[in-house]
């Protein structure tokens, strides 16, 4: 039994179908990449999987139970989200934001226990933001903020971690750092589902790729089978070459940047 199982789910904004008849299953110990052009339905599909929206048709089950039967709190103990953008108008401290990740684990009127503090601290160390604990979140750079949000999701300590283009606004150093940290979670039996724009990043870190085109699951499988020139051309309409790269030891794609001279 898969951890999360989506069966023929569809979703439409009014008459505009955005997710069409998608089925997918997530198994423990795997890193899944969700790939597709802008407007192909990635964010809406993630919204359905995190129960932020309800599919118009189809069913989703989590550990064999219907997703809808979970309360928000129970759901938050199963899956965490790292969103793409993070904007906060109030001056919370970094340590307070990370500790919010423990919310689903702490009873309403209880104070955070030693375990909550330890897990939060560990998450901050993993993402190298532990020295920022006392700083105000509003005074951080974009890269620092995003690492804090990642630390919060890590502190939530859930089997499934969902990333919605979590590193889209980050430089390469911090992108790699966040991906290495969540990859470690996968090695320990966790599941990551990440919407990713950068195909090489996806190829380097993912075990399985879901390729979306116009709301449909166009292809699914290991990166070296999915991220190949013909399939990429079908979905993104670009010329590319795919090879195994000896330097970074992974399947990589190189694009034809400029128009051919004729």
């Amino acid at each position: 039994m898969a951890f999360l199982d989506a069966h023929n789910i569809s979703y439409a904004y009014g008459d505009n179908a955005v997710v069409r008849d998608v089925s997918l299953a997530l198994e423990p110990g795997k890193f899944y990449g969700l790939i597709g052009p802008n407007g192909s339905g990635k964010t809406t599909l993630l919204d359905l999987l995190i129960a932020n929206r309800r599919p118009s048709t189809g069913t989703i089950s989590l550990k064999g139970q219907e997703l809808e039967s979970y309360s928000r709190q129970k759901l938050a103990r199963q899956m965490a989200l790292i969103p793409q953008e993070f904007d906060l108008g109030f001056d919370f401290r970094v340590s307070e934001i990370v500790l919010m990740g423990r919310h689903p684990h702490i009873p309403r009127f209880a104070s955070p226990g030693p375990e909550d503090l330890a897990v939060s601290q560990e998450a901050m160390v993993a993402l190298a933001v532990d020295h920022l604990g006392d700083r105000l979140i509003t005074a951080l750079s974009g890269g620092e903020k995003q690492r804090v949000v990642a630390a919060r999701a890590l502190a939530q300590d859930t089997p499934l971690l969902i990333m919605d283009e979590a590193t889209a606004n980050l430089d390469i150093q911090h992108t790699i750092q966040i991906f290495q940290v969540v990859r470690r979670k996968v090695e320990q039996g966790g599941i990551v589902l990440a919407a990713i724009h950068d195909l090489n990043l996806a190829a380097a870190f993912c075990d399985e790729i879901f390729l979306l085109k116009e709301g449909r699951l166009h292809a699914a499988g290991p990166p070296e089978e999915i991220l190949v020139p013909t399939t990429i051309d079908q979905v993104f309409a670009i010329n590319c070459q795919a090879t195994f790269n000896n330097f970074n030891q992974s399947h990589q794609i190189s694009f034809q940047w400029r128009q051919e001279k004729s």
Binding site: D47, I50, A51, N52, S71, R72, Q73, K74, L75, A76, R77, M79, A80, L81, P83, F86, D87, L88, G89, F90, D91, F92, R93, S95, E96, I97, V98, L99, M100, G101, H103, P104, R108, S111, P112, L117, S120, Q121, M124, D130, H131, G133, D134, L136, T138, A139, Q156, I162
Partner: protein, 346 residues
């Protein structure tokens, strides 16, 4: 290693200091006025009333009457309204993710003003002394539900949609109030005076009414304190952290609005307390709503009690309290805001 928990202890010292200041404020204020009574005497009168004995030392019985039946109801109403508006302000700023929000953002004050104006226009006071507050309350509640219905899409309440709906409905109601004033002829002064707010000749019944609203508002705000903090991250994130954002938002909007409606129906429209108190307190205790709610309640109570005492007992003639809070509160807020900006985000 930073101590991750040291910001989370409750601000006991500040709460104690504010409680003490409020208590002293009440006693000193009750002695101020045309008939000057010393704080000691006020304390003895209050103690005697509470313990059921008689104030020893041969105090003038008029003193007892003035303190207990005239001044204290007004003072306590002012303090409770101030505290309640401040708590409602905290709620609205946190739910609408907008530091410019105040208890009146959803048009509750306009609804109350419309109801009260209507009652004053048709001179309904003949029926019962409480009909103006009642009409004000009904107007506020009706407005709240119209705004909620207008802003609700798919069972969701977006923060921007809510603010916009509130602005639209308030604009329509303002036009309605203008029309009522136009119709009112010589009654127009009464309407204008009510709209500017006043605590004059409030009774213990008013105190009890606002007390009930204040306690309800405080308890519910405190109950949802942690959820409110997390809701600051936005709906998608707060949902993923285990908060039922849509439901919590709706509950707290209704509670905040009911508290505000009660205040407005009792005292008229008093601006600025609900906006500045949460800001001032956020400068001191930070954005954690579990600290902000109790601290803002006490601070709001002190501020409005101070303003009402100023207009009642210090100024040569009574200035409408709503005007006074805006006149003092506005510039004061500018000063604090500017100072904070210049010092940067330290």
């Amino acid at each position: 290693m930073t101590d991750i928990n040291h910001h989370n202890s409750p601000p006991y010292m500040l709460l104690m200091a504010l409680s003490l200041a409020l208590l002293l404020g009440i006693i000193v204020s009750a002695g101020m006025g045309y008939l000057a009574i010393t704080p000691g005497e006020v304390a003895r009168i209050i103690w005697a009333k509470i313990s059921g004995g008689s104030p020893a030392g041969g105090l003038d019985p008029t003193f007892g009457y003035v303190v207990w039946d005239v001044r204290l109801p007004r003072i306590l109403t002012a303090a409770l309204v101030g505290g309640s508006l401040a708590v409602a302000g905290v709620l609205f700023q946190a739910i609408l993710l907008n530091p410019l929000a105040d208890p009146y953002t959803l048009g509750v004050s306009s609804g109350a003003a419309f109801g009260a104006s209507l009652a004053l226009l048709i001179n309904i006071t003949v029926i019962t002394a409480f009909s103006v507050p009642l009409f004000a309350f009904l107007g506020a509640v009706a407005t709240l539900f119209i705004v909620l219905a207008l802003a609700s899409v798919d069972g969701r309440l977006g923060t921007n949609t809510l603010i916009l709906s509130g602005v639209i409905v308030a604009a329509i109601l303002s036009a309605g109030i203008g029309f009522i004033k136009h119709l009112a002829d010589e009654q127009v002064a009464v309407i204008i005076f009510w709209l500017m707010g006043s605590f004059a000749s409030r009774t213990w019944a008013h105190v009890m009414l606002v007390l009930a609203a204040a306690i309800g508002g405080l308890l519910i705000a405190f109950f949802y304190g942690r959820d409110l903090n997390i809701m600051a991250l936005g709906q998608r994130s707060s949902d993923s952290l285990g908060v039922d954002t849509a439901r919590t938002r709706k509950i707290l909007l209704v509670v905040g609005s009911l508290v505000t409606a009660t205040c407005v129906s009792v005292s008229g429209i008093i601006g600025f307390i609900g906006l500045i108190t949460p800001h001032l307190m956020r400068f001191i205790v930070g954005p954690d709503n579990r600290k902000l709610v109790p601290v803002s309640f006490l601070a709001g109570a002190i501020l409005l009690l101070g303003a009402d005492t100023l207009t009642r007992a210090v100024l040569p003639s009574e200035v409408p309290i709503g005007v006074l809070t805006a006149l003092i509160g506005g510039p004061f807020f500018c000063y604090i805001f500017r100072k904070k900006q210049l010092h940067g985000l330290s």
